[in-house]
Symmetry: C2
């Protein structure tokens, strides 16, 4: 039976989602090792998105096949959470014959959090990007709006082999949220799919604009150039969360 | 010169605030060791509140004396933050001759966060108390209101030697905050001062009431008994934050 599950994790301790050679700690390895310990089966976990080292998820979607699980999916959730490390949690699971988390996905939604304050918040180390200088929200909002639509995103990343760099962005918006520590800016972006490092490179360049180091016109020119050499430094991984994956019904 | 500073820390890695015998990692030791490394002086740091192992702070207030600091307090903040571990931050510092963070304090305010959801949030492990069962907010609010005023709080803690168990509570209120993960309940309590473990024991018993294991009348009877044997299990430390200390002008 194939299962579809929603996965949440704090990526701080992991070298990204995808299993690597050897014993490198990755989220995929942790879930596969747990399933093997629970069921005795060697299981391959497939995910909707391959998050990088230090990137978090609250709505990653995975699938895996179990030959011999004779209990309910809810019992599977409880059993997995009893065995997984506390920085990885299964939120829900259902039986889903034929489901593929990557090929069936219609869109992915990420959230990036910037905390703008004179001093970093030690309670959110590893969870936000701390920026010590003031940001111009209106400039970042204008830059974000430019990214909506079907465009060539080559400035922000390279495609997987055999693919191109055109993606459709449905939502791209910055908002300020109330925060007791400083100015908290959250960027939400939803697209069909993303190039490797695309969200972090987009955020990095929008924050450059917000810091006044790049005008909105310069931001747009670099984006339209569709050339990776135009990218600015990528935003650090810890501010990024894979929040949801949407599927066709 | 005496300095007054506001301190924030993630208490997860520390055995509480107060320096202990030997090399036990405490917040006081980390700050004193940093001041010693920076100035060459052996400095004693005094705090408004001695937080327990795993308890956090965003508004702890400390004082310390420096003989030889020749730069501004703002430069002292920057220099300390450059040398302190990232889970401890100095928010601000001023010169404050004669100031004593504990004796001069008029009140302390703590916040306790309970996250009520079927599955724990791995991004907030160590920062909230995860409760898997539904809580009755109205019952917890009624219990919290009983605690306001000048009362004998012996049910919730023992006094320091030579002191009594009467304290004045100015604010004691639960509120539900919007949260994408589940029901988030935040308890804010401000009082002249607190007995050891008082906030965690109060929260533990209010949550028992919220779970339906204690009626509001039973909660009140245990509180009025002014007897530590009436306490329920203390809430775990990770949900607790020392948020502010108020001083007489």
């Amino acid at each position: 039976m194939r299962y579809r599950a929603t996965l949440a994790y704090n990526g701080s301790a992991y070298w990204g989602f995808q299993r690597q050679a050897g014993e490198s700690p990755t989220v995929q390895k942790a879930v596969e090792d747990t399933l093997k310990a629970m069921t005795g089966q060697t299981v391959t976990v497939v995910a909707a998105g391959r998050t990088d080292t230090g990137v978090h998820a609250t709505g990653q979607v995975i699938s895996f096949d179990l030959v011999s699980w004779s209990h309910s999916p809810d019992t599977l959730v409880k059993a997995l959470n009893a065995h997984l490390p506390p920085d990885i949690r299964i939120r829900d699971a259902v039986e889903a014959p034929g489901f593929h988390p990557r090929f069936d996905a219609a869109s992915r939604r990420y959230r990036y959090t910037v905390l703008c304050a004179p001093v970093a918040d030690p309670l959110r180390a590893g969870l936000v990007w701390w920026v010590a200088h003031p940001l111009d929200l209106a400039v970042m909002q204008a830059a974000a709006a430019i990214l909506v639509g079907t465009h060539d995103f080559a400035t922000f990343g390279q495609p997987p082999q055999g693919d191109n760099t055109v993606r459709e962005v449905f939502t791209s918006v910055w908002a300020q949220q109330p925060d007791p520590w400083g100015e908290r800016y959250e960027y939400v972006v939803e697209a069909t799919a993303f190039l490797h490092h695309q969200v972090r490179r987009m955020v990095g360049m929008m924050v450059e604009a917000g810091l006044g180091r790049l005008t909105p016109a310069e931001f747009e020119a670099r984006f339209r150039a569709a050339d990776l050499s135009q990218a600015k430094r990528a935003a650090p991984p810890q501010g990024l969360i894979l929040e949801a994956v949407r599927y066709r019904d």
